[in-house]
C-alpha cells in the first residue's frame, strides 16, 4: 500500500502536468475586454491538482495517511482475480457491443457472469440472458425511442423481427 500511495500520487501529478500543458493551448491570462482566457480555469485547476499531489506526497513522507503506514499488499490473489475476471468481463462486454450489438453483448455478458462467475444453473442463466435483453429492447427502442448499437450486419435478421413487433 505504501508504495502504491506514492506511485498513484506520482501518476496523478504527471497527469496534472499534462493537463496544465494542454490548457495553455488557449490563453491562460486576462484578456482586456474579454475577461479570462479559455485556458485560465482549467490551467489553475490543474495547478490545484498538482499542489494536492505534492501535499499527498508530503503526507506520505511524514507517514500521515493510513496507506503510507501500511505494509500490506494492495490486493491479495482474490482481489487481483476479481479485477481481472469482473473488470475484464466489463471490458469484454463493451468490446463486444460493436460486433454482436448492445443486446447481444448484454446476453453474452450475462451468460459469462451468471454461469461462469456466479455458478448459477443454465436454466436461470439463459432465462435472464434472454428476458433482460428483450425487455431492454422494448424499453429503449419501443418506449423511449433510443436506438442502441446494432453491431455487424449478421445481427440484422434479429432486429428486423423485433422491429416488426414494435412497429
Amino acid at each position: 500500500m505504501r508504495q502504491g500511495e506514492i506511485s498513484l500520487a506520482g501518476i496523478l501529478a504527471l497527469f496534472s502536468l499534462y493537463l496544465m500543458w494542454k490548457s495553455t493551448e488557449l490563453p491562460i491570462g486576462y484578456i482586456r475586454g474579454q475577461g479570462p482566457g479559455g485556458g485560465f480555469w482549467p490551467f489553475w485547476l490543474s495547478v490545484g491538482m498538482l499542489l494536492s499531489c505534492l501535499a499527498i506526497a508530503w503526507n506520505w513522507w511524514r507517514g500521515k495517511s493510513p496507506a503510507a503506514l501500511s505494509d500490506e499488499p494492495l490486493m491479495d490473489a482474490f482481489g487481483w482475480r476479481t479485477v481481472l475476471f469482473v473488470g475484464g468481463g466489463v471490458v469484454g462486454f463493451v468490446a463486444m457491443i460493436s460486433i454482436v450489438s448492445m443486446y447481444g453483448a448484454v446476453a453474452l455478458f450475462l451468460i459469462y457472469y451468471l454461469r461462469f462467475l456466479g455458478r448459477h444453473s443454465w436454466l436461470l442463466t439463459l432465462a435472464i440472458a434472454v428476458v433482460l435483453p428483450v425487455a431492454l429492447f422494448f424499453f429503449f427502442e419501443g418506449a423511449m425511442q433510443i436506438s442502441m448499437p446494432q453491431g455487424l450486419p449478421f445481427t440484422q435478421p434479429f432486429f428486423d423481427v423485433m422491429y416488426d413487433i414494435i412497429y
Binding site: L45, G79, V90, I97, V106, L110, M148
Partner: protein
C-alpha cells in the same frame, strides 16, 4: 384570499378526470424513468413532449410536470438500491442512501426519500402559491458573482466538513472541474483540452459518464473485492407494519434534513441556472454542518437522505418559478417545458399570471395533486424496489453492470463515452483503494459548467478584480462563509496543536 380562490379553482382543474389520469400516468412513468440509471426527468420530459400535443395545453403541462415530479422521486431509487445516482439531482442521495441499503435498511432509506420528497414538494408549492411574483424579483438580483459564490460554498462544504484526507478531497474537486472543461470553451467557442487529441473529447465529458463509471463500475468492483463477493447485509423483508415503522423512524430521524432541504432547495431552485442539483448538494452540506452528529453522515444517516431528496423536489418546483414568471428556465427540464409552452402558444413572462391565470393556477393545483400521487405511488412500489435486493449478489452485480453500460449509452449515444465509463470505473476502483473521495469529483463535474462561466463573467464585470466576490451585498457574505469553511480544517488543526502545546 384571492390566492386561495385561484388555488381552489386550480386544484379543481387538476382534479378533472383527464388531468387526474394524466397525473397518475405521468408520475408512474416518471418514477420508472427516474429510477433508471442514466435517465432523468429531462429525458422523460423531452421524449414524451411530442405526445402532449394530443391534449389541451393545461393538461399537457400538467402531464409533463407530473413526469418531472415522478422522476425526482425515482432518482432516489437507483441511488439507494443500486448505488448509482439515476440523475445528477440524486448524487447526494447516494452518500447515505447506499450505506443504509448495505446495512439492510433500504426500505428506511426509500421511505425517508419518499416522505422527504413529499414535504419538499409541498413546502415549495405553498411558497410558489404565496410568493411567486415577489420571489421572481429576488432571484433576478442574483448575477454571476452571486451564483459563483454559491458554487464556491457548495465546494467548501465538502472540503470543510469532509472527514476525508483534505489534499485528496481538493484533488478530487479540481479533477472533476477540469473534466467539466473538456470539449469546447463555452465563451470563445474554441476546442479545449481535447485529451490526447482524441476527437471524441470534443463532445465533452458528461456528468453521467463519470457518475456511472465511479458508482456503477468502480464502486461495484470495490464492493465485490472488499466483501469477497459475499454480500449478506441487505434485509429484504418488507411488511406493511415494517413500512409503517420505517415511516415513523424516517420522520423521527429525518425531519431536520427534510426542513433544511425543503427551504434551501426552493431558494436555490428559484435561481436561474442553478436548479435541483446544486440545491440538493448544498442542502446535504448544510444539514451535515448543523447536525449534532455530523460523523453519521456518509455512513447511513436518514437526515443525509432526507435533505437532498426534500431539496431536489423543492428545487424542481422552485425552478418553475422563473420559468413561468420571467421566462428563464432554472434547469434543463424546465427549459424543455418552456419550449413546450411556446409551441402551445403560451408566452411565459410576467403577463402569464394575468393573461393565462386559469392555466397557471391549474398547473399550481396539479403540483399539489402530483405530489400526493407521487408519494403514494412511490410508497406502493417500495416493496418491488426492495425485492430487487433479495437477489443473490452474483445476479444483482451483473444486472447493475448491464444497466450502467446500457444506461450510459442511452444518455450519451456514444461508444467513446462507454469506454470512458470503463476507464473511469477502473480508475475509481484504484483511487478508492487509496481513500480518494470521488463524490466531490462527481459534484464538481456537475457544477463546473455553472461555476466557470459565472467566474469569468464576474471577472470581466470587475475588469479582473476578484474583490467583486467580497464587495457585493449578497455575494460577499456567501464568499466569506465559503472561505471560512475551506479554512476550517486548518483552523481545527491549529487549535488542536495549541491545546497539545498548552497541556
Amino acid at each position: 384570499m384571492e390566492v386561495l380562490s385561484f388555488l381552489a379553482s386550480g386544484v379543481l382543474t387538476a382534479l378533472e378526470p383527464i388531468n387526474l389520469g394524466l397525473i397518475l400516468i405521468g408520475v408512474t412513468v416518471g418514477l420508472f424513468i427516474g429510477a433508471m440509471p442514466g435517465l432523468g426527468s429531462v429525458n422523460g420530459v423531452a421524449i414524451l413532449l411530442p405526445i402532449t400535443f394530443l391534449v389541451p395545453p393545461a393538461s399537457a403541462i400538467i402531464f409533463l410536470a407530473a413526469i418531472y415530479y415522478g422522476a425526482m422521486y425515482g432518482g432516489a431509487i437507483s441511488s439507494v438500491t443500486l448505488g448509482i445516482p439515476g440523475a445528477s439531482t440524486a448524487v447526494a442521495t447516494t452518500f447515505d442512501g447506499r450505506p443504509l441499503a448495505l446495512q439492510g435498511r433500504a426500505s428506511l432509506a426509500l421511505v425517508t426519500a419518499a416522505l422527504a420528497s413529499f414535504v419538499g414538494g409541498t413546502v415549495a408549492t405553498v411558497f410558489f402559491s404565496l410568493f411567486a411574483p415577489l420571489l421572481a424579483t429576488v432571484a433576478l438580483n442574483f448575477g454571476p458573482p452571486e451564483i459563483f459564490a454559491l458554487m464556491l460554498l457548495a465546494f467548501a462544504t465538502f472540503v470543510g466538513l469532509g472527514g476525508d484526507d483534505i489534499p485528496k478531497t481538493i484533488f478530487s474537486i479540481c479533477f472533476g472541474l477540469v473534466l467539466a472543461t473538456v470539449g469546447f470553451d463555452t465563451i470563445s467557442g474554441e476546442p479545449r483540452l481535447v485529451l490526447f487529441d482524441i476527437q471524441g473529447f470534443l463532445r465533452g465529458i458528461g456528468f453521467i459518464v463519470l457518475a456511472i463509471g465511479v458508482y456503477g463500475i468502480g464502486e461495484m468492483l470495490w464492493t465485490i473485492e472488499q466483501t469477497r463477493g459475499e454480500i449478506t447485509t441487505t434485509n429484504p423483508k418488507m411488511t406493511v407494519k415494517g413500512l409503517a415503522s420505517d415511516a415513523k423512524e424516517a420522520v423521527r430521524r429525518g425531519w431536520k434534513g427534510t426542513w433544511i432541504g425543503s427551504l434551501l432547495g426552493f431558494f436555490v431552485g428559484v435561481l436561474p441556472a442553478a436548479g435541483a442539483t446544486p440545491g440538493s448538494l448544498m442542502s446535504y452540506g448544510v444539514a451535515k454542518m448543523v447536525s449534532k452528529t455530523p460523523e453519521e453522515y456518509g455512513h447511513g444517516s436518514p437526515d443525509g437522505v432526507a435533505a437532498p431528496e426534500a431539496a431536489n423536489n423543492s428545487a424542481s418546483t422552485g425552478s418553475m418559478l422563473p420559468m413561468l414568471t420571467l421566462g428563464i428556465p432554472g434547469s434543463p427540464t424546465t427549459a424543455i417545458l418552456l419550449g413546450g409552452m411556446v409551441i402551445w402558444g403560451l408566452t411565459p413572462g410576467p403577463r402569464l399570471f394575468i393573461d393565462e391565470s386559469e392555466f397557471v393556477w391549474g398547473l399550481i393545483g396539479s403540483f399539489y395533486i402530483s405530489n400526493l400521487a407521487a408519494v403514494l405511488i412511490n410508497l406502493a412500489f417500495i416493496p418491488l424496489f426492495v425485492w430487487m435486493l433479495r437477489m443473490p449478489f452474483t445476479i444483482l452485480a451483473p444486472l447493475i453492470f448491464v444497466l450502467s453500460i446500457v444506461g450510459g449509452f442511452a444518455a450519451s449515444r456514444s461508444m467513446h463515452d462507454l469506454w470512458l465509463i470503463v476507464i473511469f470505473g477502473l480508475g475509481a476502483f484504484f483511487m478508492r483503494k487509496f481513500d480518494y473521495p470521488l463524490a466531490p469529483a462527481v459534484l464538481a463535474i456537475v457544477l463546473g459548467p455553472i461555476a466557470e462561466p459565472t467566474l469569468r463573467q464576474s471577472l470581466l464585470l470587475s475588469s479582473g478584480d476578484p474583490a467583486i466576490f467580497f464587495t457585493r451585498p449578497i455575494a460577499g457574505p456567501i464568499t466569506v462563509i465559503a472561505i471560512i469553511l475551506i479554512l476550517l480544517p486548518a483552523i481545527k488543526l491549529l487549535r488542536r496543536k495549541g491545546r497539545v502545546a498548552t497541556s
